[in-house]
């Protein structure tokens, strides 16, 4: 490829274009890039846009401006891995910041996972999720259903239904908004015996991957949530975050308050520097392992129903979700 600095600017320009829902002109792109710390003028933007057009990555719509082509979207997904190495954690931090659910007034946004299922499987899926929810394999019993033709921000492929479930990263949002500096650490597979968690069998850090750890474990079919529900023994998806040990008391309050909103799933708060179920914790910090919200969806997959899940997908007003 060409000069890496040019490549970087090309990618940033495409990112700006894809963030809007209509075509955008060179002038607005230049303004947005300046906001982001790229000192680049309108003229230079035009120059770069011509390169993008030539490569078939963007398309001009008269005076309205440009949009990114399918090829461009693919390029955005694949390019600059060096940046995207931190992508999973960066995107999660973004959503943690956007979580504004107020535990007192019980309103505001929580983070959700989105799962697409086939329309025909809907009744079965709801039944399994109800069962999983009763057994505690879910963060909150509240879900939201999106159908294909609905007018909303959520894209639902043809013939599918999308189900939003509360994501465990919501806890990180709640902790942050209570002034606790929280660091999502790992996603993993947690083994349970007689309803008690015993150890993580596998872990992937949110920090060293370009693919979401929970998504990885789901597609490896490594859970046995149904077994846990039936016998108390099996494997579930869990993740872990770390907080400063001095914030443990405050974090306890937050977790207790969250329960009043029906938000559950935190297993415990560890002692300072205490490894939890085999997962290491930094000195001076405490770990909080949480059984994640998509366990209910993993249970659905275990029955052989096909589901496509996007963990940590977006934020959603909690009051618009209702009990399954």
């Amino acid at each position: 490829m060409t000069n890496p600095q040019i490549e970087r600017k090309l990618i940033e320009i495409m990112r700006v274009i894809t963030e809007g829902d209509k075509p955008i002109g060179a002038r607005n792109i230049a303004d947005e890039l300046n906001e982001r710390g790229y000192g680049i003028g309108e003229r230079a933007v035009r120059y770069h846009l011509r390169i993008l057009d030539e490569r078939g990555l963007t398309k001009k719509h008269g005076y309205a401006g440009r949009t990114v082509t399918e090829l461009g979207k693919k390029e955005l997904k694949e390019a600059l891995i060096g940046d995207r190495l931190g992508f999973v954690i960066t995107r999660i931090e973004d959503l943690i910041y956007k979580t504004d659910y107020n535990l007192e007034s019980k309103s505001g946004n929580v983070i959700v996972n989105l799962s697409n299922i086939d329309k025909n499987d809907f009744d079965d899926v709801v039944e399994i999720m109800r069962y999983a929810s009763k057994g505690g394999a879910i963060i909150s019993p509240r879900v939201r259903i999106f159908e294909e033709d609905e007018d909303s921000d959520i894209y639902v492929p043809k013939g599918k239904i999308a189900i939003a479930t509360v994501c465990s990263i919501t806890f990180d949002g709640l902790l942050l908004k209570s002034g606790i500096p929280v660091k999502p650490a790992y996603g993993g597979i947690l083994e349970l015996k007689d309803h008690e968690p015993t150890r993580f069998t596998d872990l992937i850090s949110y920090n060293g991957t370009s693919i979401d750890p929970i998504k990885i474990f789901m597609s490896r079919h490594s859970t046995s949530v149904l077994d846990v529900l039936e016998t108390g023994t099996g494997k579930m998806l869990a993740n872990m975050r770390q907080i400063p040990a001095s914030a443990v008391e405050k974090a306890n309050e937050v977790l207790e308050l969250a329960k009043l909103s029906g938000i559950n799933g935190a297993i415990k708060i560890g002692n300072e520097g205490e490894a939890l179920f085999g997962a290491p914790v930094d000195a001076g910090r405490s770990g909080i392992p949480v059984l994640v919200g998509v366990n209910a969806i993993a249970a659905v997959e275990e029955t052989g129903i096909e589901v496509n899940t996007y963990p940590v997908s977006t934020v959603m007003e909690y009051s618009t979700m209702s009990e399954i």
Partner: protein, 252 residues
């Protein structure tokens, strides 16, 4: 594998363990190499062997050598079950072991998907660092259905599995000598060596280090999986003496 009270082992520490145990010497062509072991059903034998032949002869592996294991054979601590066949291929971490034994502080960094265009590596499109995962990154990526090995063989375009390590710039000459010795004894999977302080296939390297990208030993397994045949792979399983391996062309 791990005791109940001890911390879980991340891939990076497992790798160091295997590198330490590597005794293969490219000058004598003797010693132990690290292998990936896969298990298949006996009935899919012919199909799987054909895919392995295709992938290994096109160079999309570390070496063209394999070991076939039949029912009752022992590899590492595993005995091949009834109705199953085991296939061992050389794992790319062997190269790190050889460099280590030559006194070079080599750091395996990550595994990922490398995009191939017109037969040339273009960039990493997805990666997992060894320090961040307890499952081998290439095993993880295999399960994400991101590879297109057969497509690469047919059209020279697509996605393969590869991994990256870093070595100090000061050891550059030694590294280059050893890599060329390895090529001489059939380690054909060395994909790219970067200039110091320069990104390699879009991944930045540490200051005063150079990057080395090697084709993953599990590409043939990924190709089998792409064709819909069930295959179970344990990457970086164990070490075996290289004299136990045979060239894929000699497999009947």
């Amino acid at each position: 594998m791990h005791k109940n009270n001890s911390n879980i082992q991340f891939t990076s520490s497992k790798i160091e363990d295997l590198m330490f145990k590597t005794t293969f010497d490219p000058n004598t062509g003797k010693g132990d190499v690290i292998v990936n072991v896969s298990f298949i059903d006996e009935k899919s034998r012919d199909e799987v062997f054909n895919i392995f032949k295709m992938v290994l002869t096109s160079g999309l592996s570390v070496t063209p050598y394999v070991k076939i294991l039949n029912q009752g054979d022992l590899i590492g601590e595993t005995v091949i079950e009834k109705g199953k066949i085991g296939i061992a291929t050389v794992c790319s971490i062997t190269i790190d072991g050889v460099l280590l034994k030559a006194g070079i502080p080599i750091k395996p960094k990550l595994g990922g998907i490398v995009q191939i265009r017109d037969g040339k590596p273009v960039r990493f499109t997805d990666v997992l660092t060894y320090a961040s995962t307890t499952i081998d990154p290439l095993e993880v990526l295999m399960s994400q259905k991101l590879t297109s090995i057969t497509h690469v063989i047919r059209t020279s375009n697509g996605n393969i599995l590869a991994n990256l390590r870093e070595g100090p710039m000061a050891a550059r000459d030694d590294i280059e000598h050893i890599l060329s010795d390895l090529v001489d004894v059939g380690f054909s999977g060395i994909l790219e060596v970067s200039e110091p302080n320069t990104s390699i296939l879009d991944v930045p390297v540490e200051r005063d280090h150079l990057g080395i990208v090697v084709i993953g030993g599990t590409n043939p397994m990924a190709a089998v999986q792409e064709s819909g045949i069930s295959i179970h792979t344990n990457a970086m399983s164990t070490l075996i003496d290289i004299s136990e391996l045979i060239h894929i062309d000699e497999v009947a």
